[in-house]
């Protein structure tokens, strides 16, 4: 049952990610991107990473995809995509495929991820790894967010 669901979510996310880059309409692309995130959330929950999956929904679908919609609407419909060159498609798909196959069939898993995954409650494992060994990453991330806020103000208000 779990394996079947995993396959369904995986195939749906692959199909909709192909639709993201191949559909003619920009808004349609963004909606397919939301579908990709939802399916990947399903895969993550089936892997036992429920907190990370739900955060994916909250941050990416709730905020980032809405911002993408903002940008697409602000374009005002001028950027209808043409066919594009198909050779870039093929190269990009090969690169992505290699990364995916390496990720699925590679047997190496980082120690931090193992520490997260063997907990009963995923969120506690995330917290322990994030706020002990990974604390400097959190602080660097805070700095990046600060730079993003200042950059946004500089671009839009000044």
């Amino acid at each position: 049952m779990s394996g079947l669901l995993m396959n369904i979510f995986g195939i749906l996310s692959l199909v909709s990610s192909i639709k993201v880059v191949s559909s003619e309409d920009d808004v349609e692309s963004v909606l397919y991107l939301v579908l990709v995130f939802c399916n990947v959330c399903g895969v993550l929950i089936l892997c036992g990473l429920d907190f990370i999956g739900l955060m994916l929904i909250m941050v990416y679908v709730g905020a980032v995809a809405v911002l993408f919609l903002f940008i697409v609407m602000m374009m005002g419909g001028v950027s209808r995509r043409g066919g594009g060159n198909k050779i870039f498609w093929v190269i990009g798909l090969i690169i992505v495929g290699v990364v995916v196959v390496k990720g699925v069939y590679g047997d190496e898993m980082s120690e931090e991820l193992m520490g997260v995954m063997d907990r009963k409650r995923n969120i506690e494992g995330v917290g322990e790894v994030l706020f002990t060994e990974g604390l400097y990453k959190v602080l660097v991330g805070g700095g990046i967010l600060l730079v993003a806020m200042i950059g946004g103000v500089t671009l839009s208000v000044l």
Binding site: A63, L67, E128
Partner: protein, 131 residues
């Protein structure tokens, strides 16, 4: 993962309902009277004045971006709160430092007027014209 079985049931029901609605409206609906006029946008009897995608002020985008920043901060607070017993003072003060970093940005945005919404002048002349 057993506790997510309910979510799976919800997912199946929502898929079934949406398929049923789509198929039923296709089967039961009147397919013959499809015409060009039926598919055009209706705007008070005129042709559509402009594209539905209007440009709007970039300040809306700034508010959306600030929302993302503090959304991320909240999503870091959840695991921090759950693992406070195990991370000790190091993790505690680290999170406080993270919050202070974002507070600096918040105060900066506030002082620069990024949160101020300008009053929109709706144009008194048009209101007078109606009168």
């Amino acid at each position: 993962m057993e506790e997510y079985g309910v979510a799976l049931i919800f997912l199946c029901v929502s898929v079934i309902v949406s398929v049923v609605v789509e198929v039923a409206s296709y089967v039961l609906g009147d397919n013959k009277s499809k015409g060009r006029e039926k598919l055009t946008a209706y705007e008070c009897g005129f042709d559509a004045f402009e594209d539905a995608r209007v440009r709007f002020d970039v300040r809306f985008y700034l508010v959306g971006m600030l929302f993302i920043v503090f959304d991320l901060e909240a999503s870091f607070l959840f695991p921090w709160g759950m693992s406070l017993d195990n991370v000790g003072g190091y993790g505690y003060w680290g999170m406080i430092d993270f919050i202070i970093e974002l507070c600096v940005g918040y105060v900066y945005v506030w002082r620069m007027g990024g949160l101020v919404q300008h009053e929109v002048n709706m144009g008194e002349s048009s209101i007078n014209n109606i009168k």
